[in-house]
């Protein structure tokens, strides 16, 4: 009897889970489907579920706004800002986790609090600084700004992972003659690889999707994929099929990255768990 009830509950939960997953996934699915429709089909009412499978939108999008250049900018900005952030955050998180001072907790909270401020509040000063420094519409300027924006999260995540590492092992390295950078490179970083990998991935995704600064500080040369999508929303009216094709192209790389590194991450995490 009890078994029958639990089976029923199981079916109920499975249906609910599928329903929620499809509900959340539906906009993405619809975007992908629409990208393969003609413009007329895309605005047809009632909408068609299965498109006529045309690739014309993709060719037009590439011809009109050079997808690969934007893609290249997105890669430079997201990967570059992440690597730069790690370079700064690893030593910072080391000192906070292993050599904390009286106010370390306060500094961590203060860093996080900067994420609570609306970005638009500092748009004007940063815009002016960028203009005077000649960094407007420049991928390196954008890389630096995205690094600064995500730095608090990177420091926090690494700090949390580093706290898990027994300080004895780092002290052993010091006794074995390791100076600071060797201690970090040979002992701390290899032990924190699963944590660093997940931080890296999350930060690349955040930087890839960041729209506020990428839209406001770029025009053409340095524009990443966010600006590429935005350019398809124009006052002359929306071209749904082309906009969908552009969106699909913009999210595809990060979706693939997430899909493949998810497996890597799970392996990394279970490795840590059975250690």
């Amino acid at each position: 009897m009890a078994r029958a009830v639990s089976t029923q509950r199981k079916i109920g939960f499975t249906v609910l889970a599928w329903f929620l997953a499809l509900l959340i996934f539906f906009p993405i699915l619809w975007t992908v489907l629409t990208s393969f429709k003609s413009e007329a089909e895309a605005i047809a009412s009632p909408p068609t579920l299965i498109p006529n499978w045309t690739l014309e939108n993709y060719f037009e999008v590439q011809a009109r706004s050079d997808y690969f250049r934007h893609f290249g900018n997105s890669v430079i900005i997201s990967v570059g800002s992440t690597l730069l952030a790690l370079l700064i955050a690893v030593p910072a998180a080391w000192s906070m986790a292993f050599a904390p001072a009286k106010r370390t907790k306060d500094i961590l909270m203060w860093m996080l609090s900067t994420k609570m401020m609306p970005a638009v509040g500092v748009l004007v000063p940063i815009y002016l600084i960028f203009r005077d420094a000649g960094l407007l519409d420049n991928v390196w300027g954008l890389t630096v700004i995205l690094m600064l924006i995500n730095l608090p999260i990177v420091v926090w995540m690494l700090y949390t992972y580093f706290k898990e590492i027994p300080v004895d092992i780092l002290e052993a390295a010091r006794m074995d003659g390791a100076i600071l950078w060797k201690e970090i490179v040979y002992v701390l970083v290899p032990m924190a690889v699963p944590g660093i990998a997940s931080t890296l991935l999350l930060n690349i995704i955040l930087a890839w999707n960041e729209a506020f600064w990428t839209l406001n500080l770029t025009a053409a040369r340095a524009a990443p994929l966010t600006a590429f999508i935005a350019s398809y929303s124009s006052p002359e009216g929306l071209f749904w099929a082309k906009l969908s094709a552009a969106s699909t192209l913009a999210i595809a790389p990060i979706l693939l990255l997430g899909w493949f590194s998810q497996k890597q991450l799970v392996r990394g995490l279970t490795f840590g768990a059975v250690k």
């Binding site: 004895d168 092992i169 002290e171 010091r174 100076i179 250690k275």
Partner: protein, 333 residues
Amino acid sequence: MGSITLDHVNKTFGGHQVIPDISLSIEDGEFVVFVGPSGCGKSTLLRLIAGLEDTTSGTIRLDGVDMTDSPPAKRQLSMVFQSYALYPHMSVYDNIAFPLKMASMDKATADAKVRDAARILNLTDYLDRKPRQLSGGQRQRVAIGRAIVRQPKAFLFDEPLSNLDAALRVNMRLEITELHQQLQTTMIYVTHDQVEAMTMADRIVVLNAGRVEQFGSPLELYRHPANRFVAGFIGSPKMNFIEGPEAAKHDAYAIGVRPEHFSMSRTEGTWKGKVGVAEHLGSDTFLHVQVEGLGLLTVRAPGEHTFEHGDDIYLTPEPDRIYRFDRDGQAIP
């Protein structure tokens, strides 16, 4: 060479004085044990010598050179941690080779040294394994291998055996003592276990609340404890302390008699009592005797004795083995 001198070393943690003021001189090649109850500052003292903690004031000299402000990496000391602190991502070989890699030693020389250390410690068959694939005793050996491989000025051991089971502990105790005989390098060994201290040390530092209560050879501490704390801490089972009129007869505030310094009789003696619990160890038996007016005394009897629970017993302390203490706990010579 590896002499270590502490001169008025003082350590304060956030207003709390852990080490008030310690001066010590450890000779080259000596095996010195820091012993004391938990929280007495023995590990802190070791970490000050290692350079893992900064001194608040005072100087630490290695071979006469002031090293007070040098980082651990520059002190040429090796340390074995209670938790072993092996590098989990490296093989046994790489763990032992790590100090040599840090010293930028060439590969061939380093290889010879690692294999030599592994041979001494019976680790040759395990060089390719990761630390998590080893037993506790093997891990401890790897930690020791990592310490001996680069011939440091001194070895520092921080309660290295407390995570091992009792049988293995006795084994490793012998191995470490044997290692000291072979290498003749200065060793400082921290433990809360007075048996480890007595069996391994050339000289023992007894610490209590950050102060050095006494510094001397094991037998010196056993025969001539400087105060009641040392008298009670060294020796197992503990020394019996008696206060009041019985002590006053010896012109002391308190007297102490070790369990092994009593003679027993059924008919006559100084103190009369009743036998309580008997702990049989085979070779010896520890009798807990309730003595009228004095309380519970522990007495060491031969393994095969005839006293039963509830029997009357007369105890007589050996007259030249009665320790006398004043009101402050200091020994009266």
